[in-house]
């Protein structure tokens, strides 16, 4: 038979399939094979070069060009040829997009990874249901070309927050300065806490930072007489500057959610929160966001988007607003 000659172009609706390495009775192993369905046309060719020529004849001539619907190979046959045939198909400009399925006999073992790397799209152990095969082949015919172009995996940059270098520098410089300026407060507070109670100086609570990482947020312990004063003037929050230096949080960012709030809901929108650092202050503190945000849906508004739109000036403006609000509240 001359494979370069094709008597008439197949109808575009025809789905041509080639079976390689099968006996004539192969269909015992494919249940409900569509013999009656005129849409399907199949051929069995067991010689490597003839099979390749048959496939090429479908795509060599533009006037009769039609990609075969599927290529089925008996796994035993493929192995006996050392996967050379699979390599040829994989390297062919057009044929590499033809869905390529290996059919293993009952009990025959195979190496999944090796099969996929050889360019085989799927492997079934016979007997197999035709409707199952058909659904898979429909998908492969539609998308195989596209799948070869995508890596599939998200790159870490697309879902992980990285602190911009200038923000980190700003945080380090700001926190250091703030600690220096407030050092006159730290010592008396520490001494008075130590005098009034026996416990530790700091207490800590588990809060959520960027990338959904939890950290221990430090506070001065404020449970006794000194406590209310510390709380009233927000002095209990000063140790968070240590968290800033450590990189757990930023000067400006989202409200650091306690673990029970963070665990409460997982709305898509809400999770933009994880793409931002937690902060000592932020829009939530300057009254530009509703707070307290007990309902997670209130937290949709981010302080900054974690993707490069950060500016030092925005942070600085929020810090100044916070300070102004603080001074006004205390009527200094």
């Amino acid at each position: 038979m001359n494979y370069n000659f094709y008597p008439s172009a197949p109808s575009l609706a025809t789905r041509e399939m080639l079976f390689i390495g099968f006996e004539n009775s192969f269909d015992e192993n494919i249940r409900n094979f569509p013999y009656q369905n005129k849409t399907y046309y199949f051929e069995i060719i067991n010689r490597e070069e003839n099979a390749f020529r048959w496939l090429e004849s479908r795509v060599n001539d533009l006037t009769t060009y039609q990609m075969p619907f599927a290529l089925f190979c008996s796994l035993k046959w493929l192995v006996s040829k050392g996967f050379e045939f699979a390599r040829q198909i994989r390297e062919h400009a057009d044929l590499r997009f033809v869905p390529f399925v290996a059919l293993a006999e009952h009990g025959e073992t195979f190496d999944r990874k090796m099969l996929l790397e050889s360019g085989i799209d799927d492997c079934y152990t016979m007997p197999v249901q035709w409707n199952c095969l058909e659904a898979r082949l429909d998908f492969l015919n539609q998308y195989k070309w596209k799948m070869s172009e995508i890596s599939g995996q998200l790159s870490p940059e697309s879902y992980q927050y990285r602190v911009p270098v200038e923000k980190r520098i700003f945080d380090l410089a700001g926190a250091t300065l703030a600690i220096l300026f407030s050092s006159v407060i730290w010592l008396p507070v520490a001494v008075s806490i130590a005098l009034e109670t026996n416990g530790p100086l700091f207490c800590h609570s588990n809060r959520m930072g960027a990338n959904y990482r939890f950290f221990y947020m430090l506070k001065f312990r404020s449970t006794t007489r000194v406590g209310w004063l510390i709380k009233k003037y927000g002095i209990d929050e000063l140790p968070q500057l240590i968290n800033v230096l450590r990189g757990d949080m930023s000067l400006v960012g989202n409200r650091p959610l306690p673990i029970y709030e963070a665990e409460m809901l997982a709305h898509d929108e809400w999770n933009t929160r994880a793409l931002e650092p937690a902060g000592m202050t932020g829009l939530w503190r300057t009254g530009q966001l509703q707070e307290p945000a007990r309902n997670a849906e209130d937290n949709t508004e981010p302080t900054h988007t974690g993707t490069g739109s950060y500016t030092i000036w925005a942070d600085l403006a929020i810090i100044l607003k916070t300070l102004r609000a603080y001074v006004q509240k205390e009527n200094f």
Partner: protein
């Protein structure tokens, strides 16, 4: 793309300490990733994704010879019982409604992975 990956930010952040978490932005990307020869212990997928959605992905995995055994957990924001029924028929081993508790998801994953 943004919204799709944000649920992943959560899953990755919450579970990457216990599991080796890999993300794909839709069903097609997931299939492309699988075709590289990796075999995950479990797939957690949203129902609504651009392109190939959760149901399409699930149907595709189930009719495949190589991937039909991978357990699939489906996350949905719908309270449509018919959808849950259809996805379970397709072979989803768990159907989780948003909003969901991360602890409950973790429990499911532990049961599946063992």
């Amino acid at each position: 793309m943004w919204k799709i990956t944000t649920i992943f930010v959560f899953l990755w952040g919450r579970f990457s300490r216990q599991f080796d978490v890999v993300g794909a932005k839709n069903g097609l990307d997931a299939m492309a990733w699988l075709s590289k020869g990796v075999l995950p212990d479990v797939i957690v997928t949203d129902v609504r994704m651009p392109g190939l959605g959760g149901a399409g992905l699930l149907a595709n995995l189930r009719c495949s010879g190589l991937y039909s055994g991978i357990p699939v957990v489906v996350i949905s924001d719908s309270d449509n019982l018919a959808e849950e029924y259809r996805l379970r028929q397709l072979g989803a081993c768990a159907y989780i409604r948003k909003p969901f508790s991360p602890a409950a998801l973790q429990e499911q994953l532990k049961q599946i992975v063992g």
